[in-house]
Amino acid sequence: MNKTWDNRAWWLVLPVFLMVAFNALIPLMTVVNYSIQESFAANEFFWAGARWFRELLNNPDFHASLGRQIIFTAVVLLIQVPLGLGIALCMPRKGAWVSVCLVLMALPLLVPWNVVGSMWNIMALPDIGLLGWGLNALGIDYNYTRQPGAAWFTVVLMDVWHWTSLVALLCYAGLVSIPDAYYQAAKIDGARPWAVFRFIQLPKLKHVLTIAILLRFMDSFMIYTEVIVLTGGGPGSTTKFLSIDLVQKALGGFDLGPAAAFSIVYFLIILFASWLFYTLMMREEAK
């Protein structure tokens, strides 16, 4: 077959190119631009080269908030993924309870993020909050505004409450789409429930689990609103995660250069981790 070559066809790509330019390239380049300059008032800029990046990467505060961020994300993923999967396995497949369960599960996802922060802030208050008062009444010394451990516990619990449903709903959708024949074949082959989970459900859920983990990784790595409302990064800076650190730099100090360098490093970490994770999960597929 004769193919028609006409480079004017590139014009057809223009709309997409413009959209990508406006929603990604231009804003990103602005940040790149700031990150290599020093800014003064009256819109004066001086070349700074890689200085902000060097400073950031050698800054112990950055290391500390990055470390906290990694621990937080790891803890949250380790709890939410198995828990969400477990909930999905327990949810009914048919009958009237299906819709009840789905609505109940979807509720936390519908609450605005700052409201989630406020809710948990009030609920965990040691003197008047149900959770805080209850724990203290049980004889546990609990005060998230003063104890770093209690603050971490509350932040993690809040995130688990807010986001486990997402994992559960994704897994549920994956489970429902497994054809009955698989379960029937497993019954005939004499597979125990554990073998059904291990050899049918888990492999069939691989794709939704990849999506769930990826979404939860990105979201939890960028968490800001709920934590700032709940603890404000405290007590001290024990719950100061990357985004909180960044906002304090950018808005508090108005240090555009260092904040821009921070943003780029932050973005690259997420990009790299997501890529790495996705490649690892999909490696098997290529075989």
């Binding site: 074949a185 019954k187 082959d189 075989k287």
Partner: protein, 357 residues
């Protein structure tokens, strides 16, 4: 290995079935001998998959019993019944190798690895899977996967029956034939009872010694492929089996003689006719011939089917098809037809006269 006896079996998917229409299966009784090859044939929605799932234990019957070798298994689980089933879409364990797939049913039953190995290798040899034993099962083609499903059934030596639920649906046409011959070969080699569900007459007639034709939840006829072809018990069977299907021509019956177009038509079972609201003559296109003097007919259409041509005629308001072998003269315009008396039957209300259940 077992003889399967189905006694007055009924099944409804509703919790409280009221009328006969609520039943997907309406009162079935059948006996299948140990080691036979059987086919369940019928159009989509006729209840054949329901029957299969009742036998395998994936469904529990509403009424009636199923017994294996005289032992009632109506309420037993699939595992207790010790059966194997191959589904419409290949079911394999994606993450396992072909070897592990075949070994899975044995491992689940606690068979020692030393016994599993020769068994799996033997079955893989039969199915021509030996070369792929170490590969991941998910990488195989559809027919390879279907062979694995079958292999998981064959690997257990004590399986009572192996059931196939339209197993060739997703197989490429040129491989269908191969896999079908393979199944036949395996049946002869292993002598396991096999039940094959399909809506494809070629698959059923080539695979089975005994074909059960179902329609609307009932068994219409159970017999050898030749029975079904030469003596369809119901006009439905006549239509459903054969290509083109049997001619069904309205007729009248008086005093043990059948009449069509003002003349007597000799039919093998005309004497058994007791009289009914609807009487018809059934004759296959293979047994209609062109003669000089007989039933006057007009040729409407001639279509070429390769080794023969299908001639469609109209005679006294009825459509009659006949086959003319390649190389013979094709009638044109007005012609005369005759039916082979040995292969012409009278049907009353759809059922062959004298054979009504």
């Amino acid at each position: 290995m077992a003889e399967i006896r189905i006694d007055k079996l009924r099944h409804s998917y509703l919790a409280e079935p009221k009328s006969d229409d609520d039943f997907a299966l309406k009162r079935l009784s059948l006996t299948w001998k140990d080691g036979g090859a059987y086919a369940l044939l019928g159009p989509s929605g006729c209840g054949k998959t329901t029957l299969l799932n009742l036998i395998s234990g994936l469904l529990t019957p509403t009424e009636g019993t199923i017994s294996f070798d005289g032992k009632d298994v109506s309420n037993a689980s699939p595992e207790e019944r010790n059966i194997a089933q191959v589904f419409q879409f290949p079911v394999i364990y994606d993450t396992m190798t072909v070897y592990d797939n075949l070994a899975f049913p044995l491992r689940n039953r606690g068979v020692p690895e030393a016994e599993i190995k020769p068994r799996v290798e033997e079955i893989a040899g039969m199915l021509e899977l030996t070369k792929t034993l170490g590969n991941r099962a998910s990488g195989l083609t559809a027919d390879g996967k279907q062979k694995i499903s079958l292999g998981r059934g064959l690997v257990r030596a004590d399986v009572n029956v192996i059931m196939f639920d339209e197993p060739l649906t997703v197989i490429d046409p040129h491989l269908k034939w191969q896999l079908r011959s393979k199944l036949k070969e395996l049946h002869i080699k292993t002598r396991r009872t096999m039940i094959y569900v399909t809506h494809d007459q070629t698959e059923a007639l080539t695979f089975a010694d005994q074909v059960v034709v179902m329609n609307q939840g009932e068994v219409v006829q159970s017999g050898t492929p030749i029975d079904l072809f030469e003596k369809p018990r119901h006009t439905f069977v006549g239509h459903f089996i054969g290509s083109p299907g049997m001619n069904v021509i309205p007729c009248s019956v008086k005093g043990g003689k059948a009449f069509f177009a003002g003349g007597e038509v000799k039919a093998e079972n005309a004497k058994s006719a007791k009289g009914a609201a609807r009487t018809e003559l059934g004759v296959r296109p293979e047994f209609v011939t062109v003669v000089n003097k007989g039933i006057a007919a007009d040729v409407v259409k001639v279509s070429d089917a390769g080794r023969f041509r299908i001639v469609e005629t109209r005679a006294h308001g009825a459509t009659i098809k006949l086959l003319v072998p390649e190389g013979e003269a094709v009638p044109q315009g007005k012609t005369h037809l005759a039916f082979d008396p040995a292969h012409t039957q009278v049907y009353e209300d759809g059922w062959m006269a004298g054979a009504r259940p």
